[in-house]
């Protein structure tokens, strides 16, 4: 990607993620994240030039919430944009903030993603995304058993189910280290069989325990030009590159399906543009938008351009655990916390925190020089970010 100037992430703020936040209204909840991000960056709203705000369309049944939310965002009198690209909204917000700073339009941009899923009716919103004449009757929202069925067919029921549950339990172990995570269940590996048998089935072998939460929460991030970022932060997380791809999934049904997934497409493009030949070894960490354990497991293969069963072996061997050679979602990921309009931003934010060394209880034990973060949404929409530390950039130069 050609950039007019470099952009660094210098502040991250997150509200607590929870199933219910009755004690705060929307701008109050957002304000918690904004205050934390400003504190980390060591600035006030006076130094922010522009506010980018987003969430899922209509999820709280509020039109143009960015206007009303000015009470909590600090956007009064500032330039402001609203971005709403479904599940990827949070990552698209980060992409928009990067563009605004890289272009030279603004030096400091605050990006905010939020959702209060308990206030609205999410499945009602999601199922309305398809063409009313040709595809809407087939929409089931975010629940699909297709990946489980495909993996069972490819690898056998026993191995596929065990790997999906191992992935789920590893993610919960990570969430237990993140005090802001919504679902922290304290699952133990010896519970795998019992969970697989007793967790309610949603669609086919997609069970409740595999699925992401529905959370209330907000995330805020501060993006600064290189000059400003160096003044504000000892170790900013630099935005190396990002790629967005999407397609209308109904087209597959009509015999026009591209073989390539948007994940694999984005990964190929991102790695080629940045000279990455062996992502598993050249990247230290991956914060993946994993809506379910089945998807998380399957998408490892797509994002890392793996063949055969290597993705299963990465989970079975514990390579994706915090002390493994390719840690995935030290935050606990989307299965633990899913305030949708914030979720994809949290991936970029958590990857940035790891590079900045500010992830707290779930900070990786070794330096993170290069991190990947992905966003996902309907219909088949991927945003893939590559972040880097100063060490990585000096090595590359």
């Amino acid at each position: 990607m050609k950039k007019n100037r470099n952009v660094g992430i210098v502040g991250v703020g997150q509200s607590v993620y929870s199933s219910h936040r009755e004690e705060v209204n929307q701008p109050e909840m957002i304000h918690e994240a904004v205050v934390e991000a400003l504190e980390m960056a060591g600035i006030t709203m006076a130094e922010v030039d522009c506010v980018v705000h987003g969430n899922m369309e209509l999820f709280e049944m509020v039109h143009q919430p960015d206007l009303w939310h000015t009470l909590g965002t600090g956007a009064w009198g500032k330039e402001s944009l609203r971005v709403t690209t479904g599940g990827t909204t949070g990552a698209t917000l980060a992409a928009a903030a990067d563009h605004l700073v890289a272009s030279g339009l603004h030096d400091v941009v605050l990006a905010i993603g939020f959702e209060k899923l308990q206030e609205g009716h999410t499945t009602g919103g999601i199922t309305n995304m398809a063409d009313p004449l040709w595809g809407r009757q087939l929409q089931t929202g975010a629940l699909t058993g297709m990946t489980a069925a495909q993996m069972i067919e490819e690898f056998g029921a026993e191995r596929a189910k065990a790997a999906a549950m191992a992935y789920r339990i590893l993610m919960d172990a990570n969430a237990m280290k993140n005090p802001k995570a919504h679902r922290r269940l304290g699952l133990r590996p010896d519970q795998a069989e019992e969970l697989a048998a007793n967790s309610p089935a949603l669609v086919g072998e997609l069970r409740m325990i595999h699925m992401c939460s529905q959370s209330d929460g907000a995330c805020a991030m501060i993006f600064a030009s290189e000059e400003k970022a160096r003044q504000l932060c000892a170790q900013p997380a630099w935005i190396e590159d990002h790629v967005t791809a999407h397609r209308e999934e109904m087209f597959c049904l009509f015999g026009n399906a591209p073989v390539l997934t948007t994940h694999r497409h984005c990964a190929r493009k991102l790695f080629a543009r940045n000279g990455i030949r062996d992502p598993r070894r050249e990247i230290d960490l991956f914060e993946m938008y994993d809506p379910s354990a089945w998807w998380g497991l399957d998408w490892l293969r797509e994002f890392l351009l793996l063949e055969g069963d290597e993705h299963l072996r990465m989970v079975e061997s514990g390579a994706i655990a915090m002390d493994g050679d390719f840690p995935v979602n030290p935050s606990g990921g989307v299965i633990a916390s899913n305030p949708i309009g914030a979720t994809a931003m949290v991936r970029v934010a958590e990857a940035a925190l790891q590079i900045m060394g500010r992830a707290g209880g779930h900070q990786l034990p070794r330096p993170v020089r290069r991190a990947l973060a992905s966003g996902f949404g309907g219909t088949m929409w991927t945003v893939l970010f590559l972040l880097a530390s100063d060490t990585e950039r000096q090595a590359a130069a």
Binding site: E23, W76, G120
Partner: protein, 167 residues
């Protein structure tokens, strides 16, 4: 481009969306509602940063980002009509028979106006600057309709009385 499109045999697909929601009022909004329900008192918050009393209350000042959570002040129950509109069009979403007056009422002691219904007078006689006061609902309600409506402080031509001519 056809200037007169041919619309013969063109189907339309009817649909309907349900938009259910549950708004979380938060602590600030809830405190305001409780004071209305239990004490018939109207509360605002005072921002020391910009010396403004804000009604409805809010947790943060949008201008100076000050925390307003513990800056409660009582306002009203009387106030001044800052502006108003007369709803004359009956539609399914209009909650009561028309004509109906919606007014921006700045309560005594407040710097910002509250939207509410104005009743107990002829809609044609409402003027900016009119002094009004809150009439609380007999039954407690979970919304701003704890105040049923605002009525004029001084006797006005009644709604049932003769309407002005013309207009």
């Amino acid at each position: 481009m056809e200037l007169t499109p041919d619309l013969r045999d063109c189907f339309t697909v009817p649909g309907k969306l349900a938009l259910p929601y549950t708004y979380f009022a938060g602590r600030i909004g809830s405190r305001f509602l409780l004071a209305l329900q239990e004490e018939h008192r109207i509360l605002g918050v005072r921002c020391a940063g910009c010396a403004t009393v804000l009604v409805p209350p809010r947790a943060t000042c949008d201008r100076c980002q000050a925390d307003l959570a513990d800056t409660w002040v009582e306002v009203g129950p009387a106030g001044r009509v800052e502006n108003f509109t007369v709803v004359r069009y009956a539609d399914r979403h209009v909650p009561e028979p028309v004509p109906l007056v919606l007014a921006l009422i700045r309560l005594d002691g407040a710097d910002t106006p509250l939207v509410h219904r104005l009743g107990g007078m002829d809609p044609e006689a409402v003027r900016v600057g009119l002094r009004v006061t809150a009439v609380f609902a007999a039954e407690p309600r979970d919304t701003l309709l704890c105040i049923d409506h605002f009525r004029p402080l001084a006797p006005q031509p009644s709604a049932a009385g003769p309407r002005p001519q013309g207009g």
